[in-house]
């Protein structure tokens, strides 16, 4: 898959082939309206059971919508927030009802899926195929849980059931879900197929949030011109954030009110330095958690950089009445060959004593009552939560069992392509991801590894590993003060010969129940789709390496 040109052609062809589709996705909010939280679906008696349907349509403006629909008694709503507790069971029945009358694989080279075990439906992955990745959850990479390598759903087939237990020591915080069929991730996420998932209990670990109104904001991206890849525009909870071209979305707050904002960067490629402004300057944000992991101590920052797929949870205090405030993503340089991430106002903050609408824009719903069999031992009360009881705690004190170096690089045959995107384990050959490839890294349960991740490319990349968080140790060779647990992290572009490569060093914890094969990749989704990804195999302790 060398040619971006062909990739773009696929977008064009597929886009036009869908033009006559009738609406399958719910109408999205009008510009300039109050931003409402996604519908929240709560677990009941330790179980959250939900039925999702993946659909696709094209709106009046020509935009491709991919939607994860959830049925309520008032009709289908899009991408609800799933809310569970530690130890709860998530049972998600997902149907693929993406309709298409075009050649979904147009412009894409067929992937060789032979020798790849199949979970779900058989067949070749296409733009109408789907699956689901539970980004950040520390659950096993196995069929019916968080497996993107073999899980494939095809349109029209019976529902596929995801069934997993949230670990009892899962960090309380903000996660998210999105499709992850290699080669087609960007299409579906760019079309809006993404939602938030919250593991409850943040107030137990970070009491600063107790009693605060909570807001969930999912920032997504869509093409500015429906059929032309790049430039893009952002949306906040599906409302266009294109001020001043369009009226700004509105967030309601009361004067001086503190709110707990939980923000998902569900864009396909946008690095977002977030700020809240009033009185002509950025205001301190009290940062509570990053990538779903509570900070050891809250910290005040004017800017919170959230890379694509990252999450930030922070407390915002509204200004006094009669002040204007805005929620903004600053511009971010991704390098000479990167995408321009332009400054964009995400919302205007309306400060008023009448801002009741802000609190509960949509009343949360309880998930369907779980079948008796599903309740099992999951329903027992979770133990009290402290930072030290969370998964990965104490990691900084462990001695690594291995050191590795991984690097991003790119090859350009022209300014527009063909482009090759690589992520390479040092010492191995650069190659793009193939579904049938052997794992680039093999390790064992119990291992604790320090990885140095460099960027040799002229654009910023966004490292992500499935299944686990990693502890940030160093940036550009210097120890960091805050050793945050992350699952996604930006590595700036190389300034060119004569300059050192930017890098991070992080500690990876393979002590959990994550035996199996999963992936690490760049979370700029075009790059992932084009092969900037490889497999890691985690074997049971003491198991021989089959490779």
């Amino acid at each position: 898959m060398r040619s971006v040109c062909r990739y773009s052609l696929a977008i064009l062809l597929c886009g036009f082939s869908f033009l006559r589709l009738e609406a399958q996705c719910p109408k999205r909010p009008d510009a300039g309206t109050v931003v409402k939280d996604p519908l929240a679906v709560n677990s009941v008696n330790g179980v959250l059971t939900a039925d999702f349907t993946m659909r696709h349509s094209v709106d009046n403006g020509g935009y491709n919508h991919y939607c994860i629909n959830y049925d309520t008694d008032k009709g289908e709503v899009e991408a609800p927030t799933l809310r569970l507790h530690q130890g709860d069971r998530l049972i998600l029945n997902l149907k693929d009802r993406i309709e298409s009358d075009g050649d979904d694989s147009a412009g894409m080279e067929a992937m060789d899926m032979s020798n790849t075990p199949t979970c779900g439906d058989t067949g070749t992955p296409t733009l109408s195929s789907t699956n689901m990745h539970f980004h950040g959850l520390n659950v096993p990479p196995s069929c019916h849980q968080d497996d993107v390598l073999t899980t494939l759903l095809q349109p029209g087939k019976p529902p596929f059931q995801f069934n997993m237990q949230i670990p009892k020591d899962e960090p309380p915080g903000l996660y998210w879900y999105h499709p992850h069929v290699h080669g087609f991730v960007e299409f579906q996420v760019n079309g809006g197929a993404a939602g938030a998932l919250i593991v409850e209990g943040m107030d137990k670990v970070r009491p600063e949030v107790t009693g605060l109104t909570e807001r969930v904001f999912v920032i997504r991206q869509q093409y500015l011109v429906p059929w032309v890849p790049g430039p893009y525009q952002l949306t906040i909870n599906y409302q266009d954030a294109a001020s001043p071209s369009l009226p700004s979305p509105v967030i309601n707050m009361k004067p001086n009110e503190k709110q707990f904002w939980r923000v998902v960067n569900a864009t396909i490629q946008d690095f977002m330095p977030l700020q809240v402004w009033f009185n002509g300057k950025p205001q301190p944000l009290q940062l509570i958690a990053l990538d779903g992991y509570p900070l050891a101590k809250p910290r005040n920052q004017d800017t919170v950089l959230v890379p694509p797929a990252g999450r930030a949870e922070f407390i915002v205090q509204a200004p006094p009445q009669n002040n204007e405030a805005i929620f903004i993503s600053l511009g971010y340089s991704t390098g000479p060959t990167g995408n321009p991430d332009l400054e964009q106002q995400l919302a205007r903050i309306d400060v008023s004593n009448d801002a009741d609408e802000a609190s509960t824009p949509q009343a949360p719903v309880q998930a369907k009552e779980a079948p008796q069999a599903a309740k099992s031992d999951d329903a027992e009360p979770a133990p009290s939560i402290t930072i030290s009881s969370l998964k990965f705690s104490g990691l900084r004190n462990l001695k690594p069992t291995a050191q590795r170096k991984v690097y991003f690089s790119e090859e350009f045959g022209g300014t527009n392509g063909p482009i090759q995107f690589y992520i390479t384990v040092d010492g191995q050959k650069q190659k793009i991801f193939e579904p049938n490839e052997k794992p680039a890294i093999t390790t064992h349960i119990g291992a604790v590894e320090d990885w140095t991740i460099e960027n040799h490319a002229l654009e910023t990349h966004d490292f992500h590993i499935h299944q686990i968080h990693f502890m940030l140790l160093e940036v550009d060779g210097k120890p960091v003060k805050d050793q945050d647990l992350r699952d996604t992290y930006e590595i700036p572009f190389w300034e060119g010969p004569g300059h050192p490569y930017h890098s991070i060093k992080a500690r990876f914890d393979f002590r959990g129940a994550i035996a199996g094969t999963f992936v690490f990749h760049c979370h700029i989704l075009l790059h992932e789709d084009m092969g900037m990804m490889h497999k890691i195999l985690v074997l049971p302790k003491d198991a021989p390496d089959p490779n």
């Binding site: 060398r2 040619s3 971006v4 040109c5 062909r6 773009s8 080279e109 500015l224 890849p229 790049g230 430039p231 000479p336 060959t337 990167g338 995408n339 321009p340 332009l342 690089s409 790119e410 090859e411 350009f412 045959g413 022209g414 300014t415 527009n416 392509g417 063909p418 482009i419 090759q420 690589y422 050959k429 650069q430 190659k431 793009i432 040799h456 002229l458 654009e459 300034e495 060119g496 010969p497 004569g498 075009l526």
Partner: protein, 392 residues
């Protein structure tokens, strides 16, 4: 890596400024000596070709910008060279392609006026990545990188062209035509998937020689041939690879067909998508397209063997002024070619000037003090050429 509205606007603005700056008058010359750029201007403005006179020490000075009949795209494949030169006893012409509009314009060198232009068939498009050109005294060949077609045009008096025919070509894995070069009756092409192919052009239109193959270097999966040159005697085809280091490959084509390539690793400078042999064939110049250097390798024309030579320092303006290096041109038509010119892709673009010294098995490449020369007319320079051209 995507284009952006912002960069497009800045390029258009740069182009407009350049048009104003370069608005001179046509000047004839008995012994014209030019370096030319395909300005590749897209958007609202016509594209064009900017002619630079070559002064003492190889210094370039803008002579005139000749507007072409179409529009460019401000980018594309490195190895699809969009300037081609005809220098025969009957005609002195510079041809340039306009990627967006698909036309090829002929410019009379003596007057710097347009002689004519032509389009291929309705199937011939290169609007995403450009239209490469190569020619002999009778025919001009155009590689359309969207439709992956090669068009054949007959060179007519007055730098006019007449479209003859086109064929669709493609790599073994479906790659699109990328580099293209001709020598005598042979045309050699590269594709974006690592494969290479040769054609017989003795009758005008290319006829495949049946030797399409994956290059040796590409079999590892992480490099692929891009730019091409052919030795004066037609014995060897040399390929510059797109890679994360400097790699070239050489195929013996003395039989009239490609043979498996021999791979040469020449250092760590990034990529080798554009290459050019010196007139005396002792040096192979390599544009490290994804970096900020130019490499010169020693070449043995009798054996086809390439060996390490020298690498320039970091050229001025990388990242701050331009982001890629692209095609190469030479000051002179003898010896090692004098000053080496390299296209620097930026908005606006520039042309790097590199002084070459080579003797006793050693060489050096040094950027001149006045380099780079600003190229205000081009919002995305990839292709340059020289008149008179290298004699093979």
């Amino acid at each position: 890596m995507r284009g952006s509205l912002k960069s497009w606007l800045s390029r258009v603005t740069a182009a407009l400024v350049g048009v104003c700056l370069a608005g001179g008058t046509a000047v004839g010359a008995d012994n014209p000596h030019y370096v030319m750029t395909n300005d590749d201007v897209g958007g609202l403005f016509a594209s064009g070709v900017t002619f630079y006179t070559v002064g003492t020490g190889g210094l370039l000075t803008v002579k005139k910008r000749v507007a072409t009949s179409g529009k460019g795209i401000g980018g594309g494949y490195f190895a699809a060279n969009r300037v081609s030169v005809l220098d025969s006893t009957n005609a002195e012409c510079v041809y340039a392609s306009d990627a967006a509009t698909g036309d090829i314009t002929g410019i009379v060198v003596k007057t710097l006026k347009i002689g004519g232009s032509a389009n291929g068939s309705k199937n011939d498009t290169g609007a995403s990545n450009g239209i490469g050109l190569a020619m002999n005294s009778q025919y001009l060949y155009a590689s359309f990188t969207d439709s992956s077609n090669i068009g054949t045009f007959q060179a007519k008096p007055g730098c006019k062209l007449k479209f003859v025919s086109d064929i669709t070509v493609g790599g073994l894995q479906g790659g699109i035509v990328d580099g293209m070069v001709i020598h005598g009756n042979t045309m050699v092409t590269t594709y974006g998937d690592g494969s290479i192919e040769s054609f017989n052009i003795s009758a005008g239109a290319p006829v495949a020689n049946g030797d399409e193959q994956n290059s040796t270097g590409s079999r590892g999966g992480n490099v692929y041939p891009n730019g091409i040159d052919i030795t004066k005697d037609g014995h060897y085809a040399i390929f510059g690879d797109t890679a994360t280091s400097t790699i070239v490959e050489v195929s013996d084509i003395s039989s009239g067909k490609l043979t498996p390539t021999v791979v040469y690793h020449l250092g760590d400078a990034i990529s080798a998508s554009n290459i050019l042999l010196s007139p005396d064939e002792t040096l192979l110049y390599v544009s490290n397209t994804q970096g900020d250097r130019v490499t010169a390798a020693f070449f043995d024309a009798s054996t086809g063997v390439v060996s390490k030579g020298c690498v320039s320092g970091h050229l001025k303006g990388y990242v701050t002024g331009w982001s890629y290096l692209a095609s190469l041109a030479l000051e002179n038509t003898t010896g090692t070619g004098g000053t080496v010119y390299v296209a620097e892709f930026g908005a606006p673009s520039s042309i790097g000037e590199i002084e070459v010294k080579s003797s006793g098995g050693k060489c050096s490449l040094t950027e001149t003090s006045k380099s780079p020369v600003s190229d205000p007319n081009s919002p995305g320079l990839l292709s340059i050429g020289a008149f008179p051209p290298r004699p093979f």
